[in-house]
Symmetry: C2
Subunit: 147 residues, 2 copies
């Protein structure tokens, strides 16, 4: 029997969100936020659609998750995102005291680790989940852009 609560399961849900972004011509990044085995928030990058640099998938999902919970801290939540967060999103995760961050592809240019932007000390991190698929959708986007 397939365990529905694996990191791979939720990362594939985040990938579905990334696909929605791709369909809109956005850089394809998707997020789900999970609490107690349940998805409580979703988001995908909408910076072009909303003409707003702050509309990263993570930012929207953090706002939506806090709205669902009715409190601003996400201590019991895991945020799954297809691409390594940037400093802005890592900063938001810091303030939210996020319990766990899981990301797929690494971002060696704009990722939070490049600049040592701190997460909250209690945030656990797992990365490289579904790395092939999460990298592939980004490569697809940038290949389309070039042609």
């Amino acid at each position: 029997m397939i365990d529905p609560l694996t990191d791979e399961h939720f990362m594939k849900k985040a990938l579905m969100e990334a696909q929605f972004a791709l369909d809109k011509g956005e850089v394809p990044v998707g997020v789900v936020v999970v609490a107690h085995g349940q998805i409580i928030a979703r988001g995908h990058n909408l910076t072009e659609t909303l003409t707003d640099v702050t509309a990263h998938a993570e930012m929207q999902a953090i706002t939506a998750a806090a709205n669902y919970i009715g409190g601003k801290y996400l201590k019991d939540c895991t945020l799954y995102v297809t691409l390594e967060p940037c400093s802005m999103c890592a900063g938001a995760m810091y303030w939210s005291q996020l319990g766990r961050l899981v990301f797929g592809a690494s971002d060696d240019k704009r990722g939070y680790r490049v600049h040592n932007t701190p997460l909250h000390p209690k945030t656990k991190v797992t990365f490289g989940v579904c790395e092939d698929e999460t990298s592939f959708i980004l490569q697809t986007f940038f290949k389309q852009k070039r042609t």
Copy 2:
């Protein structure tokens, strides 16, 4: 004659925004965004009111300024904020390619400079404008909190 277009003039407008935050029991931080000598966006911290860690004054003002301009880049804008931005807000400024950042009080704990979070390479920075007043309103808030 008083020059209405000085940094002090606009920082006092940001201080008025910080006062609105203080009146609501929020950490008093205020922002105005200026383009070609005109205030095009304002914002004050609303993290408690909106139960949302992303609702820093700067984030709201960046969204509002982009909305006013009709484009997501703020290359010709100056953002005045009463307190040194955190890594999240500095990250948003990076993506917006902000022309100039002016802040009042330094934040030696959570400020972007503590973590070396990069601004955009073209963003010019001025700090310490109206430092006494911008520090005083924060001290007033934290003193109220303790008593």
